[in-house]
């Protein structure tokens, strides 16, 4: 009896000791469910891998454990504020995310009121950071991405008529479609833009529309869930035009859907596997060892660009904490504009609106036989 008691006491001591270690909390504001759930999970994986690689940070001479606090915003702008609030309530020093621009905008106000800085990882809509001093971002923006894609479609693919399709009410889709349209029309092409309601499963008629309009490219920067359906339906309809997409399509799910079809898929993205071999190797080993992580990655170890971005975002947050010399969120916010970091996705440095200064995007396409992404070009816009 005494022995048991002693063990229990010892365990309690250990536990309380562990609890006493200094902890800094980083909020992970990502969708884990809903249309963008798959992408959000992959973005989170990068952060988790980084956290597992570097679980502590030295702030002002004290070593802190870094704890990731998760909040699922459900890919839904109405759920985003309360998810954001739960992070604020948990006392996070800095927030990473979210995948999807709409939810980022919807959560923004909450972070601003709590003076907590947020680092957008892959939310590319300009409105996320515009006019906000607390929202930063490490990826390129939609006007840039839209222009890159429009250039590619017009110049490389020789298209003169493009069809764009976005989800109604999705800021990312609508924004990117608009910037693509502006750029493509600026080059002298014509664009037909359409949108589909949330929850649509039947895209056959939209594909028919594109064909009827005589489109030579089909631009659909939609979430993974929709893009896989579009690809499959395009394949069974035997469409001839290539499908263009933004960074959201950079997913192994999309590659899987396109495997064995004749649909040509070209996208722009942040990262190309092989750019940082050490990171590739590390995260693959981790994915293969952790079955849950593997499931979240869609069942194989193909590296999503968003994972690489999540990985970089984590380190940017650590840099900010170090620079702030405090876990106080306001101090971190003040330190963030000065942070620079060389990540796996390239050099990260913020401009005055808080956006990363990025001048290039990777263009990738799917190899329909192997179902893998192939590097096409690195594009810059002047």
């Amino acid at each position: 009896m005494k022995k048991v008691l002693a063990i229990v006491m010892a365990m309690m001591l250990i536990l309380s000791a562990a609890a006493m270690a200094e902890t800094v909390k980083i909020g992970v504001f990502e969708p884990a469910s809903g249309d963008s759930g798959a992408g959000g999970k992959q973005e989170t994986l990068g952060m988790q891998f980084a956290n597992q690689e570097t679980p502590t940070v030295e702030i002002g001479g004290v070593t802190y454990d870094v704890e990731l606090v998760y909040a699922d915003n459900g890919s839904d702008t109405t759920k985003a504020p309360s998810a954001a609030n739960s992070l604020v309530d948990a006392g996070v020093s800095v927030v990473l995310g979210s995948y999807g621009s709409g939810v980022s905008i919807a959560g923004s106000e909450i972070f601003m009121n709590a003076s907590i800085p947020a680092i957008g990882v892959t939310c590319t809509n300009p409105q996320v950071t515009a006019g906000n001093s607390h929202y930063f971002r490490i990826c390129f923006l939609d006007p840039f991405q839209g222009t890159v894609l429009a250039n590619y479609a017009f110049k490389e693919l020789g298209a003169t008529t493009a069809y764009t399709l976005g989800e109604l009410g999705n800021d990312y889709d609508q924004g990117l479609c608009t910037y693509f349209k502006q750029a493509f029309e600026g080059l002298g092409g014509t664009v037909v833009a359409e949108s589909f309601p949330t929850g649509t499963a039947d895209f056959t008629s939209y594909l028919t529309n594109a064909a009827n309009y005589g489109a030579q490219v089909f631009f659909c920067p939609v979430s993974i869930a929709y893009s896989t359906q579009i690809i499959q339906q395009a394949s069974s309809q035997g469409v001839t035009f290539p499908i263009l997409g933004g960074d959201t399509l950079d997913s192994n799910k999309v590659a899987e859907a396109a495997k064995g079809t004749n649909v040509q898929i070209i996208i722009t993205t942040f990262y190309q596997e092989g750019a940082a071999p050490e990171f590739d190797e590390g995260i693959k080993a981790w994915l293969n060892a952790d079955s849950e992580a593997m499931t979240n990655n869609g069942g194989n170890d193909m590296i999503a660009a968003v994972s690489a971005m999540g990985y970089d975002a984590y380190y940017v947050a650590l840099e900010a904490l170090k620079a702030a010399g405090s876990t106080d969120s306001a101090a971190v916010m003040a330190a963030l504009p000065g942070v620079t970091y060389d990540g796996v996705s390239g050099h990260i440095e913020f401009d005055e609106t808080g956006d990363a200064i990025r001048s290039s995007a990777f263009v990738k396409k799917i190899n329909n036989e192997t179902g893998e992404w192939e590097f096409v070009a690195e594009q810059t816009v002047d």
């Binding site: 249309d35 759930g37 798959a38 949108s195 589909f196 309601p197 056959t204 939209y206 529309n209 359906q229």
Partner: protein, 307 residues
Amino acid sequence: MWNTVFPYVLSGISVGGQYALIAIGYTMVYGILRLINFAHGDVFMVAGIVMVYMAASGMPLWLCIPLVLVATALVGFIIERVAYKPLRSAPRMSAMISAIGVSYTLQNLVLYITGGLNQLYPTIPWISDSVTIFGATTKMVTIVTPVLTVILVVALVMLINHTKIGMAMRAVSRDFETSQLMGIKINSVISATFVIGTFLAGVASLLYFTNYTTVIQTSGAMPGLKAFVAAVFGGIGSIPGAVVGAFIIGIAENIIKGLDIILFKAGIISGPMGLATFSDAFTFALLIVILAVKPTGLFGEKTTDKV
């Protein structure tokens, strides 16, 4: 002109057939219990999820398909026994709320199991192949659906008109209390209705998800509502009505998606109007118009046997 419109009609016929199979479940249950089974669309979605997991477990497809149908029917049976039977004497609002509760529960259960992520539906050979008819390329399932729908409806109508259980169903739908007094086993008739309805929803899910290959917890909501509108449109309680209504709604919704280009080519409008936005809303507008003008639907109760 026809070449422009035909692909939309084709898509519409395909999805209409799938709505039809779901709508039959609604119309039969409503005919007997006067209950809008809000969970019916979600049962259809559950059928899709069951198929995904069965196929993922490595089971061969020829075994999966019958098992999915049986499992779906079983789900329908259980839902009726657990959620509707205890409320049979309660006000109608209670049963309807229970149906909404079941719908909510099924969606959340699937959200939990799948982690809220889209599940890729397994490819069923042959019906997933591409075919070209009249210059439009589509999946084989597009052609299979209307044919199979018609076969199943004929079989169902025969079952209702010529078997004992079918007669009991007709009796119960005519007059619940009296048939109870006449010694008809109400519970087994209602269970049979649910089993048949959900079985057909299971068939619909096979066809639907072969066409639109991902399943998520909300996949059943819209098709379910549309199928219900189809049932009302056709005249609730009438099986042929539900089928006709479903095809009309399926075709109409796809034509609306292409209305911009159709009108544009016909020279009626000069540029895109974004009318595709209303592809879902149109169904509901149709519903309100029908309810306001002819609440008994196309095939009102008086001219058709309701079940």
